[in-house]
């Protein structure tokens, strides 16, 4: 897919520009790709809950709870956005939290007086499975990106000044070019003498008497 897109984008390149012949190993790891897939799943489910809540409430036997289903749809979309972002670990964990909320709500609907109790049971089983998958994905993404357990390296010997700081300090002082100057230092420009400061003196027009 990506190779095809790179071929398509060649229309924007000039003849002498490099063009992809064969793709090689990628920085994108399976955990991240799976996280993104969860993101798209969240977006799809969220849109369904947001746009067709009655279909779900009828199937689950909880008519009248359309507002709650819509709210859960918005939550799913928010999780989806996070899963598709570079903070995808947070997205996956937010999905796990959402799964818990879904299970609590489904548990409340799993009653003997609910004629669709069987459907609720199916939904509970499905959400439980998804929650496990979400938790595994979240953990994999986090472990892929976290700073590993090794000790932090100490770079306190890397001065960047081969002859010592003393030799380099101030070696370029006074070398700021005129067009890079911001303001004259306030102390030099406007000493608090109580009289017109030297800085503004040359701006005063001398009007002949």
């Amino acid at each position: 897919m990506s190779f095809m897109l790179s071929q398509l984008s060649n229309i924007t390149r000039s003849p002498g520009d490099p063009k992809v012949v064969e793709t090689g190993p990628s920085s994108l790891k399976p955990a991240d790709s799976f996280g993104r897939a969860l993101g798209w799943f969240s977006m799809g489910l969220g849109l369904t809950e947001l746009l067709a809540p009655k279909m779900l409430t009828r199937w689950l036997g909880v008519e009248g709870k359309e507002g709650l289903v819509r709210a859960y749809g918005a939550r799913e979309i928010a999780s989806g956005v996070m899963c598709l972002s570079v903070n995808n670990d947070l997205g996956a964990w937010s999905r796990v939290a959402g799964d818990m909320l879904d299970l609590a709500s489904l548990g409340a609907a799993y009653r003997d007086d609910n004629p669709k109790k069987g459907n609720v049971g199916i939904a509970i089983a499905a959400v439980t499975g998804i929650a496990i998958v979400d938790a595994i994905a979240a953990q994999s993404i986090r472990s892929l990106h976290k700073r590993k357990g090794e000790s932090v390296r100490d770079y306190s010997d890397r001065t960047g000044f081969p002859k010592g700081i003393g030799y380099s300090r101030g070696k370029a002082s006074g070398r700021v070019p005129h067009d890079m100057r911001a303001t004259p230092s306030s102390a030099a420009a406007s000493p608090a003498t109580g009289e017109t400061s030297p800085a503004s003196a040359d701006l005063i027009l001398e009007v002949p008497a």
Partner: protein, 394 residues
């Protein structure tokens, strides 16, 4: 040839691509000996910079040897096949009004897709290597070969006998840190605060010391970066462990730093103790804001009245909750730009040769080009105490 190629968000691949060809009379092709991953490459890695396309070759910190020269590049006399050159990240014509003024990063002629840039920025800026189609869509230098447009102007000729490690960063981070310090107008006796101790921040700290700053205060949260800043004599603030405002107040007797430098840009760290960073990330994720402005807010709040704010970290678009009222009432001066690399490199090369600075201190990982995709991840996730990655083609 082999190259690191952008295929989408977090998807950089070590691909086989066609070799670059001379297109214009002023072009050259170089055989890359060394290149590096820049912090600003991570904005592309995260797909925050618009107009990247699958198949774009990454990289704008490159050096190598000239293997082919266009007729005009040759005729202008300064370059020959076999010359060793560092390639600045900005492509410059050397002839337009802005180039003549030394404002190389806003060269008026080098962006070959200037219509697109004019629509977005109002005016075109310079073409850049490997940095989206907004800046020309030029192939980058994380590759075995690189075509250099306007090569007779877009190069820094370097002598033999000095290792690549010491010269490579003339392409970007050294002159960028230098530019940040210059546009901050650092004078002897100044107290300078630098936000961000990544590679550019490290170069900025050392530039400030070269310019005679009395005290440099370095702000970050990663211990390895802070230790590197401390090595240059900076006073450090770990913003995850202490309040930046309280510490700056204490270190400056309540006056604030004379000069504040942003070497972070729009992807600042998200920190529970700094709630605006969370709000910004939420807005960025929901496409209601492009850039996260925490560092700008903190600089404006803490800068000494009549002080200078220097922005060298990359911003891409709109930022919210920008405290212009505080800035205006405190009489702050703002300076910002992409570095005008070639303006500074002769001087900096002399300082490297003289032993005033050795930029190789920043390299923490030196790997073959083929390890590029892994190193993008390592660098982004700040694993293995990674601060700067240098890559070399086989």
């Amino acid at each position: 040839m082999r190259a690191l190629v952008w295929h989408g968000k977090e998807d950089i691949r070590y691909d086989t691509v066609t070799d670059p060809q001379i297109e214009e009379p002023r072009d050259a092709v170089i055989k890359v000996t060394s290149c590096a991953i820049c912090g600003s490459d991570l904005h592309l890695y995260h797909n925050f910079i618009p107009a990247m396309l699958p198949g774009d070759v990454m990289g704008h910190e490159t050096m190598g040897e000239i293997v082919e020269l266009g007729p005009e590049a040759k005729a202008r006399g300064d370059l020959s096949v076999g010359d060793r050159v560092v390639i600045p990240f900005t492509i410059i014509c050397g002839e337009c009004d802005q180039c003549k003024r030394g404002n190389f990063s806003v060269c008026q002629r080098s962006n070959r897709k200037k219509d697109l840039a004019e629509k977005v920025f109002g005016h075109s800026t310079a073409g850049l290597f490997g940095y989206s189609h907004l800046t020309g869509g030029y192939a980058g230098g994380q590759a075995e070969y690189l075509r250099v447009p306007f090569a007779d102007a877009t190069h820094i000729k370097v002598p033999d006998g000095i290792p690549d490690e010491k010269l490579l960063f003339l392409s970007d981070i050294l002159p960028t840190g230098w530019h940040a310090a210059m546009q901050a107008d650092i004078q002897p006796g100044d107290i300078v605060a630098v936000w961000g101790c990544g590679p550019v921040g490290q170069m900025t700290i050392r530039s400030a010391i070269l310019l005679g700053a009395e005290q440099v205060i370095a702000i970050d949260f990663l211990p390895e970066r802070l230790s590197m800043a401390e090595a240059a004599g900076a006073t450090i603030i770990n913003f995850e462990q202490e309040s930046v405002t309280e510490r700056l107040t204490e270190l400056t007797d309540g006056e604030g730093p004379h000069k504040c430098i942003d070497a972070v840009g729009f992807e600042n760290h998200i920190c529970l103790g700094q709630p605006d960073t969370i709000l910004d990330r939420f807005k960025q994720m929901t496409l209601t804001e492009n850039d996260r402005g925490h560092v700008l807010r903190e600089m404006i709040y803490n800068c000494r009245p009549a002080g200078v704010i220097s922005i060298i970290g990359v911003y891409s678009g709109m930022v919210d909750k920008f405290p212009i009222g505080i800035a205006m009432n405190k009489g702050l001066t703002f300076r910002m730009a992409q570095a005008h690399v070639n303006r500074w490199t002769d001087d900096l090369l002399h300082r490297i040769e003289d032993g005033q600075i050795d930029p190789s201190f920043v390299i923490t990982h030196k790997e073959p080009l083929s390890a590029g995709p892994e190193m993008y991840r390592t660098f982004r996730d700040k694993q293995d105490s990674c601060i700067k990655v240098m890559l070399q083609p086989a």
